[in-house]
Structures are given as structure tokens and as C-alpha cells.
Amino acid sequence: MLDTNLTDVSLCLFAAVFAVVVVFNKNPVVAAFSLLLMFIGFGGIYFRLGSVFLTTIQILVYAGAIAILFVFVLMLMNLEETKTFIPTKNFSLFAGIVAILAMFGILTIIIFNNTDYLATDKLPEVSMNTLFTKLFETYLVPFELSTLLLLGATVAVVFISKKRIPQ
């Protein structure tokens, strides 16, 4: 599992570059499009990891629906480019420090807690069938509850956007 090859590196670079564009770009529409490309890159990563169905969901839901929603709304809203980011120098410094802390925090937790499992290679692949069986047997209740969550979201969306707000 430690054998990182060219595919992994290029996939990571692809995703990382577009993630950087999402954050450090002045034009929100460009940011939304790079978010889309990053999602597609993540689909590739899931494919490399052998979780094929995650790739499907990643592309269908994230790239096919969520990213479309963002692009749509940004096109409808026409935000000004100059107002999107970086207020002051001090604030950026603060944000940078927070980011570095966060990154190293997560890494230390992962690496120094238990490195054994990161190196194992001979584990069986999780097949699509075991995954689905588990979803519909062990995770039955969360699965059904998630539909209720979506129902709630639908109701909320309809109410929020229906209400005519007086000018």
C-alpha cells in the first residue's frame, strides 16, 4: 500500500491544484467550475482505492447535482469579483496559521496514533455486494432516516423559497 505510483501522484496534484483554485480565485464562477473538476478528480481517487460505487455517487451527486447547483446560483447572482476575499493582511496571516495547525493536527493524530494499519496491503477488497448487503442489513435504520432527512430538507427548501419577502 505504500507503493505510490504516477497515477496517484497525478490524481493528487489534479485535485490539489483545483482545490487551491477554489479558495484563491477571485471569480466565484471559476471557483465553482474548479470545484467540479476537483470532484471529478476525487471520483478518480475513489476508483483507485477500489470503491467503485463511491465513484458513481461522487460523480452523480457531487459533480452532477451539487456543483451544477452552485454554478447555477452563481450565474444567477452575478457577484462582484473584487469583493470576494482577503480583507486584511493580518487576517490572512491568522487564517494561514489556523490552516497549518489544522493540517498538522490531523496528520499527527493519524500518523502517531497507529501507523500499523497504514502499511498493510493484503486486506481483502470490499466488494460492491458486501457493501450493499451491509447497507441494507446493518445500516437499515440510518438509511431510512436519511430519506426522512431529505424529506425535511425538501420541505425546508420549499418554505424558504416560497415565502414572499416584502421589499
Partner: protein, 119 residues
Amino acid sequence: MSLFPFVVFSVISLSIGLVLILISNILGTKPKTKRLHDIYESGMDPVGSATKRYDIKFYLTAILFLLFDVEIVFLFPWALSYQSSSIKPLMLAEFVFFMFVLIVGYLFVLLSKSLDWEE
């Protein structure tokens, strides 16, 4: 499993478009008048910006699509695993409940007139 075939395929497809545009760029005549570069608006001078705000229905459609799409995508694994499942009655019950919630959501959206385009 390898992503290699996919990469080859997309690079070739991408290069088809690129090459065609390049060729037409080289062969095509260059425009002679300035007026050609104006916004196309039936010969009038355009008024206002193109990215003004459009009808709110468009984004409502996109949001509702997102919500229903997620629900329907989660039916895919169900449909694929039903045949090989050992507990078919339970699976059916799950499905019926799922569809019930989905249809209730749909009816709510329908009755709230969010889907009406004519006003």
C-alpha cells in the same frame, strides 16, 4: 483496475476538439470589420449586463433536482442487491417505506406549487 484507458480516451477526445479549432484558426479568414465584435442583440445596442438576475424558478428546479436525485441514486444499490439478497421481505419493506417518503416529498412539492412555471 486502471484509469489508464480512461485517460487515453479523454486525451484523444480532447485533442479532437483542440485540433479542429486550431485548424480553423489557421485556415479561416480574419474578420475585417470592428462591428463584428459587438454583442449579438438583433442589431440593437445592448442594454445592461448579461448576468443580471434571472427567474428564481431555475434555481428552485436545480435544488429540487439535487434532493430528488440523491434519493433516486440511493435506490440504485437497493435495486442491484435485491436479487441476491436473502431477506427479500425486509428489503421490500425498506423499499416501500423509502418510496412512501419519496412520494410524500414529491406530493408536498407538487401541492406547494413550486413546480408551476406559468403564473
